[in-house]
Subunit: 607 residues, 2 copies
């Protein structure tokens, strides 16, 4: 299993660990210290040796920050985690505060005083975050002070070793473009903007650029490393040598100069000596890089990581790959849904069994490298918790008269998948069907949208909500995130959300996942991945338009659809989608599963 269902949080550890941390505060004459969830790569998934926030507090969420002062301590989490955090964390030690209503800045103003020293680890905070902290600390006369040994590290006795997963080459049949060509493209951009070099601090950017993959963090094939890409000449790659087999080392050495991670400081310093103009991403690179370059006298240009925009537009080979990956994943999903249907009412299924079965079926494809994130397997009321993670203690049975929501994905060499289906266990209520159909209308509105060049995710997001808005409902998450190619399942810069300010471009992959959540009762989400695609001109049309090709192939549950609520066009979309699912997947299934799929994809008729 690529996932565990153990209850890993243990609130009782918080108290003694915070006490130890406070001793450190005293020794270092600090009033407080910041412990963010982030690692030095600003990864979404962090390796075990970087799980400082979890170690200190017990909190397992994917975002958050603690501040520990001499007598007070707080844990800041966003709306996704306000229920989860108090269950995992000793609330007699930490005040749990929800962002953005509460901010670390406000806390600093309230709990620290003029002249206090506030410590932070410059490797764990982005340049922009430090700028903001500096401002709010400055407002009250608190001095933000970099700590070159992290206070948590100095008390974390059994801290795991840094990961050292082997690097593999991501071959041309999947990447579609040699590293040398990608390097040249970025170098052209650097020369155009008159930069001498870019410092690459995101493992996913480096993985894309050099066509390599690793295994240093869960669920995403990232090689933890840094790189310096000069406007001319060979990039330097800073990576632990033990991650490289002789053959990988040889292949990589064609395109890059390999260096030990310890050499990074010196290389940054020599950029400074050369008076280089260095690009650094203020929202993604840590303050440590800015400090090093500044010290060395380099001029630096704050600009987005130049790999991000190119990586987001998948090339033909990557697009062909993702289609194959989605067909493979669709077969596993259809087998899973058929199994679920056959067993849901036996009373024997629960969230963990179902998640395990799905992972097993994916493994049976013979191609599964990892799951792309921890499966959200939510029965009944658990389905209403948007970022639910099932554990042995929360594990709920699938009960008749309830809904079951499963949001999961896979990492294959040829593509990353992410799909959510919601199915009824037994007979659904009228409300369940109504809510599901409203969510489906939003899903179809996105999938069937035609939109001109320049359209951003923010311009599409409302289409997913209109049907819900008309019913006085809404959902509190974005409609879709970008997805990588055998890389991060959450990939920028594109998104369909209120913050999606980047224009969509052909080749981008996005999720389309509107939902509806009735707290304490059930959750509904319908998610397919969509590929941005140029569309043929319609008669009379004057502008080139784009739209989506749906990549995900698995039926959307008929039993939850109230056909009366669908327009003719929506029904047409649904029937065409199901016909395609049957056509592509049907012939790959054995008799029983095929019969199930035929039934699940039969055309619905207007009433």
């Amino acid at each position: 299993m690529f996932q565990s269902f153990k209850d890993i949080a243990d609130p009782s550890k918080g108290k003694p660990r915070v006490a130890q941390l406070r001793k450190q505060l005293k020794t270092r004459k600090l009033a407080a210290f910041l412990v963010p969830r982030a690692d030095e790569y600003q990864n979404e998934y962090v390796p075990p040796d970087a799980e400082r926030l979890f170690w200190l507090t017990g909190f397992t969420g994917s975002a958050g920050m603690a501040i520990v002062a001499g007598k007070s301590a707080a844990l800041f989490v966003d709306g996704r985690y306000t229920l989860q955090a108090p269950e995992q964390v000793d609330t007699s030690v930490f005040d749990i505060l929800q962002t953005p209503q509460n901010t670390p800045s406000d806390w600093i103003k309230k709990h620290l005083k003029k002249g206090d020293m506030l410590g932070y680890d410059p490797k764990l905070h982005t340049i922009k975050a430090v700028e903001q902290l500096q401002k709010s600390a400055g407002d009250v006369g608190v001095c933000l002070t970099a700590q070159h040994e992290n206070l948590v590290d100095s008390i974390w006795k059994d801290r795991p070793a840094a990961p050292r997963a082997a690097i593999s080459l991501h071959p041309l049949e999947y990447s579609g473009e040699p590293a040398s060509k990608k390097i040249s493209s970025i170098q052209r951009l650097l020369r155009k903007s008159k930069s001498s070099a870019a410092v690459l601090t995101l493992p996913e950017s480096i993985a894309w650029l050099l066509n390599i993959r690793g295994g240093d963090v869960p669920h995403t094939p990232l090689p933890l490393c840094f790189a310096i890409l000069p406007a001319k000449g060979k990039p330097e790659l800073f990576i632990a040598p033990r991650k490289l087999s002789p053959s990988v080392r040889k292949a990589l050495a064609k395109d890059v100069t390999l260096r030990e991670p310890e050499a990074l400081s010196a290389s940054l310093a020599s950029l400074g000596k050369a008076g280089a103009k260095v690009q650094l991403d203020p929202e993604r690179a840590s303050q440590w890089f800015a400090d090093q370059l500044k010290q060395a006298g380099a001029e630096f240009v704050l600009q987005s990581d130049p790999c991000i925009a190119l990586k987001s537009k998948k090339n033909k080979v990557e697009i062909a790959g993702t289609r194959t990956a989605h067909k493979r994943d669709g077969i596993a999903m259809c087998r899973f849904l058929a199994w679920l249907d056959a067993n849901a009412l036996t009373g024997k299924l629960d969230e963990i069994k179902s998640a395990k079965k799905l992972e097993t079926l994916r493994k049976q494809t013979g191609e599964l490298k990892e799951i792309s994130f921890e499966t959200i397997s939510g029965a009944g009321a658990n389905g209403a918790i948007v970022h639910y993670r099932v554990s042995e203690s929360s594990n709920a049975p699938l009960k008749s008269g309830s809904l079951y929501l499963v949001d999961s994905g896979a990492q294959y060499l040829d593509g990353t998948t992410d799909i959510t289906r919601t199915v009824p266990v037994g007979e659904p209520t009228k409300d369940m069907r109504r809510h599901f159909t409203l969510v489906l209308k939003g899903h179809i509105a996105i999938s069937a949208a035609r939109f001109p060049k320049g359209t951003r995710g923010v311009d599409l997001d409302p289409l997913a909500r209109m049907a819900l808005w008309n019913a006085g409902l809404d959902f509190d998450h974005g409609t879709g995130h970008g997805v990588g190619s055998y890389l991060s399942v959450h990939e920028g810069p594109q998104s369909i959300s209120k913050r999606g300010m980047v224009a969509l471009k052909p080749g981008m992959i996005l999720s389309n996942e509107p939902g509806y959540y009735r707290e304490g009762a059930y959750g509904i989400r319908i998610e397919n991945l969509e590929l941005v695609t140029p569309l043929r001109k319609v008669k009379g049309g004057t502008r080139p338009m784009m739209g989506f090709e749906t990549l995900t192939l698995a039926p959307i549950d008929h039993r939850l659809i109230d056909v009366l609520l669908l327009t003719r066009d929506e029904l047409k979309w649904l029937n065409a989608y199901h016909a395609r699912v049957l056509k592509v997947i049907g012939s790959e299934l054995k008799t029983k599963d095929k019969a199930w799929l035929e039934q699940a994809t039969r055309p619905l008729e207007a009433k």
Copy 2:
């Protein structure tokens, strides 16, 4: 007439005036000088003595900037004016460059060299604009240098005097809230943010705050003035004394300390001496204010003008007023549309005659204070020019088989209106009807939208476009702008557009004006004003929702609607709207006009 149709542009003046300006450049040792369209209040409409850009170049557009160097000169205009500018401006003197594809920054980099001095008038550029100019000038070693006498003013011999229209009090029956209460509200905000004062540089903010109106610029009842609002105590109002009658002076003196405009510098300086923390709006206040305060040693906080957000949410009295104003304006519009219908095919109508007739009918209400902007009266192909201004030379007849677009508005004491209608002259083509119906679908989508708290204009804008997008079409302007209460017809911060990042709040008024423009053939736009309004809960709804109350009352032309393209709900909206127009306006019309309205608002049936 509140509008003139004279051809005011005269390209031949550009050459000699630029030659004079170049002499000034030499005298002052400047390499170039910036001439923006803006005045020192950043007004949309500027008084005649501030029409420097027009005087120098002949360009009459509402936005733009010229740069004049020793041998080259450029005029920067946006997409609205790329056709108009070359007709008004001597292109042998000025290169006409379209923003944002071309920027003054690029021009500076190309035409100026290291060590060059670039002059600008600090009263005419916002703090933010100067910051950007400084950056791009700095990049190439050009020195941006403030000129305390504007170069244009020093050569403009027959420059008109500054306007001195009398100030009137805007009584409580229209404003709904005494100035003293508004002042206290803003002062509470200032104290909350620990500011000692706000400098108010927008006449519309001051007009709102003090319940006064003026007449210093066309079409908007603005009193040109500045104010300093301290967190405690009486505001200072800097205004030419000759604008104040004894009674107005007496009334105003209750709430403010009246000062001559020349006293402004000294008051800013004394803020500095007192070590005040002063709020200044970086996007709306000129650099001059920042310079003065900096010199005086004041600390300043860059923040939006605090009046803007409060002004945008109309109170109950203002809402009642705008309803009355729209009923009055609707009567004039219905009389106009009836007249147009009766005369369109006579062959005697043209754009100017029609615009004059409409103004006359508005004047006959007995309440017209001004038109709220120059009427866009576009027949045939002129209708496709989004910001068309009819002049004697462009004036086109209304021809059978064409469309006529008229976008106009009025200033009444109780409210500001803005309405666009498109009508067929004779028999419309199938394409005209199809395009009109697509635009109507977008208009209805906005008008009928239900949306939750926090929804911004950017989230609604796409609803106005979806029907067009599906047909491969779009329009290149925002869907709607904010509207003031007997103030600016273009009022921030709210808008329905790609840049509309402000959450809509009950009481805001916005235009809803999607369009379609077929270059060289016809233009279509349907515009009503909409009031943001809380909606009653629908059954099963869990969230409080908002929607729009349509303020504008005038028929939408049936002859241009293809009922087959409308959904049942859209048709229902149309018929309900027309029933309301007839109910509210019908009884106010004389027999002939009433008969026309009955015909124009009869319910359409689904086919």
